[in-house]
Each structure stands twice: as structure tokens, then as C-alpha cells.
Subunit: 189 residues, 2 copies
Amino acid sequence: MNRATRKKEILSKAAKLFKKRGYSAVTMRDLADELNIKAASLYNHISSKQEILATIIIDVAENFTNGMQQIKNQPLTTLEKLKKIILLHIDLTVKSPDAMACLNNDWMHLEEKLPYFVQMREDYEENFRSILKEGIAQGEIANRDPEIMLFSLLSTLRTLYIWYTKKDGVDAKTLKEQMPATLLNGIRI
Amino acid sequence: MNRATRKKEILSKAAKLFKKRGYSAVTMRDLADELNIKAASLYNHISSKQEILATIIIDVAENFTNGMQQIKNQPLTTLEKLKKIILLHIDLTVKSPDAMACLNNDWMHLEEKLPYFVQMREDYEENFRSILKEGIAQGEIANRDPEIMLFSLLSTLRTLYIWYTKKDGVDAKTLKEQMPATLLNGIRI
DNA sequence: GTCTATATAGTGATAGAC
DNA sequence: GTCTATCACTATATAGAC
């Protein structure tokens, strides 16, 4: 198997295992078994277990950062921006549910890339918070504690991967159709 | 220090460490350091690392089960029942945020107690789902996919501990006053 | 009730043959 | 590109002294 394809396969299987048991509980031997090779062979493709984790998480995190950058300065109402943010979360979750789980559960095991990740996450939350406050100021959304609205929205969006990948869970189409209304009705005037 | 107090202290410090880094990443030496004793001394109070995890998680899980049992059969409207469920989550989170984190993030590392836990969690979700469906049938809440409403509510309630323990986070009083309205407005007619 | 010492079984990662 | 063999280290847990 060629080098690039094998590496992608390693990252994909690793994300799947990390989602199921967490980064610390997955050994290089577990990962190798999943690929039907020996643990030592993994090191022909990656340099460390840590590199695997960082690659998985930073890739998704940068997708969120880029998505938010595109949304925040568009000439849209607050509710339109929030709808786009909700759809961004749904799209990224549907595209890589395992990587979303890693980002949510294993980010604290990042080493070299930890400060970079934390900065991206803080910026993302701050942009989200600004949009909510803007909506309150303009009378578009309810005048309640923006911190409560923020965490209610983010909690749901960040854990979408749990419900999306569950048997008898919800499919992508239903999510895109019903999620924005369910979440936005909770905060709109 | 007397035996019962020491054991409680071990469970408390363990929950705090598990919340921060996850069960698998915390060693018995880490835990012992936190208590200023040696790892071997822990075994005079507990029989295994696994026992610590199970004690922490099952205790909170049984609190949820008991709370739900008391709520579901009371002569209340759906919205009143949902408000009581929301307050149950807030109360348990404020009481033991670290144990809530363990329950959410480390339940899959339970061994002997895993089936018991999974059954409790499934029953809890099923009771929650029934109450939502009852509300839709009686025209009290919006006629949307109950699965989406369920996961939106549960995601927020289950991750309350993240925001409650955060610096600049939300305090218990604000939560109890604003959380029910924010969440229920999203689903009520 | 805590200690030191240790048993036993992994852990991530490297060297070098094929 | 994968293998076997192995290194240096760390994990949970026990035995027995104090």
C-alpha cells in the first residue's frame, strides 16, 4: 500500500479507537492490530503516538476556525449567522465524527500543539459570544445571560457526534432540517 | 486519619484528577502524590483503581435514577416535569461536578459494573423520551423530532459541569433561574 | 496506616534483518 | 514496508517491615 494512503488509514483507525476508549487507553499495539500489522511497522508512517493525536485534532480545529472566519464578517443577521454556525458543526460532524470525538475528549493530551489548540478554541468561543451579544443588542434574540445561551448551544453542537453515530440515532438530513429551528427557537425573541 | 474519612478523600481527589486527565491517564502514583502518601498505601483503603472509578460513577448514576423515578409519576404537566429534570441535573452538577465529569467521560472504562450502568443510563433516557412524547401528544411542546429535542437537552445538561467549574463560568443561582427558560423555550409551543 | 521493595505485565519506541 | 527482538520505562498491585 502506498505511503500516503497508509498514513490516512492509520489516522482514520486511530480516531475510531480514540473515540471508543480515549487516547490514553489505546496502545500502539491496539492500533496496529486494527490494521493487521505489528506496532513497530506504524513508525514507518508516523513518528509518534502524539503526532497521530495532534494531526487528527488540529485538522478539525482549523476547519472550525476557517468556517467561523468566513461567517462572522458576512452581511447577515445574527440569526442567519447562527444558522450557518449550526450547519458548520453538522457538516464537520457528518464528515468526521471520530475526529470530532477526539477533539472534544482528548484535546488535553496534546503536548506541543496544546497552546495552539487552546487559542483556536478560545477565539472560536469569543466569536460565537460576540455574535450572540450583537443579536441581543439589536433585539434579535432574547435578553438572557449570553453565557448560558452560548454553553447551551455549544454543548449540543459539540456532542452531536455521539448521537449521529449511535444506532437509531439521527441522520444528516433530519439534523440539517430540524436542528437550527430547535436551537434557535430557544433564544429568538 | 480515620478510615472512612481517608477513603472519601481518596475518592474526591481521584474524581478531580479523572475529570482533568481521564481515568486511563491518571496513575495510582499521581493519586497518591495528591494525598502526600505512597501509591502502595492507597491499597489499605481501596482494593483497586477500578473500584475507585465504579464507586464514583455508580453513586451519581443512582442519584439520577432515583431523581427520575420520583419525577416521572408525579401529577404534573410535561413542562413541569421537564423543569424538575433540569433542576435535578443542576443540583447534582453543583453538588459533585467532578463525579459528573467521570460519569460522562469515563463510564466506558467500567468493568464489572458496566452493564448495570448502561442499563441505568438507557432507562433514564427512555423515561426522558417518554415525557417528551407525552408533551407532544398533549400539545404542550412543539411537534418536532423528539430524538433531536432529547439529545439537545441531554447534551446541555450532561456537560453543565464544564461550564459550572470554569473560571468566569456561571454560578448555581443564575443557572437555576435561567436554564429552565432557555431550554424549555426551545421546545414549548 | 504508611513505608520500602518487588513481582508481573504492559508501554512507546528503536535497530536491524528481510 | 513489515517483521522479530529488544530497550528503557512505567503500570497496577502485593508482601512484609515498622
